[in-house]
Amino acid sequence: METFLNIPYSTWWYLVIGAVFTGYAILDGFDLGAGALHLFFKKEESRRIALNAIGPVWDGNEVWLVIGGGALFAGFPIVYATIFSAFYELFMLFLVLLILRAISIEFRSKEKMIWWRKTWDITYSLASAMLALALGLVLGNIIHGVAIGPNYKYEGHLADFFNPFSILISVTTLALFMMHGAIYLVMKTEDRLYAKLTVLTKNSTIFFVMMYALTTIATLLYIPHMAEQYKAYPEMFAIPVISMLALANITRSITKRKYLLAFISSAVVIAMLMVMVAIGLFPNIVISTIDPIYNLTVENSSSSSKSLGIMLIFVLIGVPLVAAYTSFVFYTFRGKVKLDEQSY
């Protein structure tokens, strides 16, 4: 196994994938959250502003999912193949929701009929909420463990995905994205919509805090393997502490109306939650609920060192580029949303 700074390539790639999915959760998180809140806005103009707040960036945000999927395929083909075929129906529904959401955004404002806009508003909002729930359900099942048997074969049933713990993670994810999306929108809006969003921001933050508490208790009680790394390396405890502080800072910043700070804090919360999951799982990626010998680990499911080495070079070249022009796009569209002739 080749190493860089004494860390094997496969572990580096585990970190890369973790970083990409974290980036995805932070970026698509706010536009999925904004979508889930969409039906709370009643006036046509408010809905258009909310849609245009994510207009120039949602497509770019979704790219992170494509990169994440590609990175998983490239670095851990066995995990990719096993999980995607095991979660067949879930991923197919996920794809359909993704398509429906994309076309709702594209097509909603192309016609003026009330029924047309209403239909797409509902599709957009439900699809956004269900995508958040589906992402949470997948994450929940990964944390919980999956019925992987010999020869990477999935031996469970569709109903197994809907176990109580995964449903809890699913709802927590929705709450997290709603909070994150509300904070993003409040930065982007003015006047009455802004006033309405300040209330939504508070309520969704309360919703998330409650879910976070429940999830923490449930994880400690029912998913003991997630805590083992923390027992072995107590200094890791800094991560949950940072997430708590960031969460506290959200409420503080909201009260002070410093929404950019609140947005950064909620991004930190998302990042810390992802880091906690990554630490809890390591060195496993998928834990088998049948027998630990079927666990898919960073070691036994990765691509060759040669391939990983090439891809790590891609990442070193590519990521600064992506970061540079992503920042450029966000910088170009900074400030409050103003509707003009190019808007949705």
Binding site: A81, S85, V329
Partner: protein
């Protein structure tokens, strides 16, 4: 129906549907760069109107391309788990490169292209257009490299056995530049330029016939005709070169292209025909010894036929491969003919008076689309029964845990959603085309928006 055939139908259906869009984006990208480039050079607002209009069409096409493209990335894992494990080391790095280098570029700058007209200067906007066009081409590079590796694997070794066998990269550049990737990439890109150019030709021919936007439409028509003319001739060369490669690397596929069975016989070239796979005969119009000549540059050398391969190692649907291949070639010839005639009348300065020709151009948008689709059918069905030529059979590539009823479920779901998608696409495209370029050019609205940065006096 079993899981194999259902999964193949689903993949074929979703990828064929997806492939309506990326060639249009790639081709339109080139045309848009030329249009906006003309605007930067001449500062003539007519080119700005033109660019704005085609960017809107581009966005519509691109949106559906992205949405249907993610489906492909998921399907490798959901339906073809054994394949994904087998090729992950190789295919995965190409997909990762596509995501990082191409797709992110494209989607990142698209926001500026669409919504940035009033927020960035003309040069930055042009740069964004260029990046989007380049991004869409880079995408094609990595996807075609991955697919070409499946046709002509190179730069790898096989590790492990049975369930655990997998192809591992030994030489990255040999993998990327495998024997067919450059030929096939050229062929795919030119096919895409044709798709984009003929869309622009078709829409503008329609405007000219209807006597709408005549001034803009004529200029746009000429820009697209330039792209179409060069591409249609280049495609002939690229196609010939590509077929030469197939003769060397995938002789069974080449034999299926022409319905050639007997390895000891010289091979004929059919203009059109019908293959009877059981009697191993082709009925149609042929150039005797034509295929032999194209490959060996003489009239006597035999060409490897289908019978040189065991029946389980060669494509079964010979007539399908034959027909798709031949119709593609015929369409390619038609495109050359069309652009040559148009070029001739342009030279004679009477192009836009030829109603009959414009009439044909108005419908011509379907030709490159059909050729692109058929070309892929021919290439992919011609590779069967292999998913990775000579290494992994399609029937060994499936997901072990997926059952037929699950694939039925997703297949029906995709059929419904894609029907909806296609209906909406056609409806909105039609609407945008009917609406046309934004005319008359409103001096008050458009000029200050765009020249603000050049003229501080206008800043308020």
């Amino acid at each position: 129906m079993d899981v194999e055939i259902l999964s193949r139908i689903q993949f074929a259906f979703t990828v064929a549907f997806h492939y309506i869009y990326p060639p249009l984006s790639i081709g339109l990208g080139v045309v848009m760069v030329l249009m906006e480039g003309m605007y930067l050079r001449t500062k003539d607002p007519i080119y700005e109107k033109m660019t704005r209009f085609w960017i809107k069409i581009f966005a519509l096409i691109f949106g559906i391309g992205v949405a249907t493209g993610i489906v492909m990335e998921f399907e490798f894992g959901t339906n073809w788990a054994a394949y994904s494990r087998y090729v992950g080391d190789i295919f995965g790095s190409a997909l990762a490169a596509e995501g990082i280098f191409a797709f992110a570029l494209e989607s990142g700058f698209l926001g500026i292209l669409l919504f940035g007209w009033n927020r960035v200067g003309p040069k930055t906007h042009f740069f964004a257009t260029l990046m989007v066009a380049l991004g869409s081409m880079f995408s094609a590079v990595w996807i075609v490299v991955a697919n070409s590796w499946q046709q002509t694997p190179a730069g790898f070794k096989i590790e492990g056995e049975g369930m655990h066998a997998r192809a591992v990269v030994t030489d990255f550049w040999q993998m990327v530049f495998n024997p067919s990737s450059v030929d096939r990439l050229t062929h795919v890109l030119i096919g895409a330029f044709l798709a984009g150019a003929f869309l622009v030709l078709s829409v503008n021919a329609y405007y000219i016939l209807r006597n709408r936007h005549v001034v803009i439409a004529k200029k746009a028509f000429k820009i697209a005709l330039l792209v179409a003319g060069i591409s249609s001739f280049a495609q002939l060369l690229s196609g010939h070169h590509s077929a030469d490669g197939v003769a060397v690397n995938q002789p069974a596929k080449l034999a299926a292209f022409e319905g050639h069975y007997d390895s000891l016989a010289v091979a004929d070239l059919y203009l059109f025909g019908w293959v009877n796979n059981s009697s191993q005969k082709v009925y149609g119009l042929k150039i005797p010894h034509g295929l032999t000549f194209l490959i060996h540059q003489d009239f006597n050398t035999p060409v490897t036929g289908l019978n040189a391969f065991k029946s389980e190692d060669r494509p079964g649907a010979v007539n399908f491969v034959f027909q798709t291949y031949h119709i593609m070639v015929i369409i390619g010839m038609l495109l050359i003919l069309l652009s040559t005639i148009a070029g001739y009348y342009l030279y004679k300065k009477s192009l836009f008076e030829q109603q009959w020709l414009l009439q044909i151009f108005a419908w011509s948008v379907f030709l490159p689309q059909i050729a692109n689709q058929l070309g892929w059918y021919s290439a992919e069905v011609g590779r069967q029964p292999w998913v990775v030529y000579g290494l992994l059979r399609t029937s060994d590539a499936l997901s072990e845990s997926v059952r037929a009823e699950q694939v039925w479920f997703s297949l029906i779901l995709f059929t419904l959603v894609y029907l909806l998608l296609l209906t909406l696409f056609i409806y909105l495209l039609n609407k945008k085309i009917k609406h046309g370029y934004d005319e008359p050019i409103n001096q008050k609205e458009s000029i200050p928006n765009y020249s603000k940065r050049d003229n501080p006096l206008l800043d308020s």
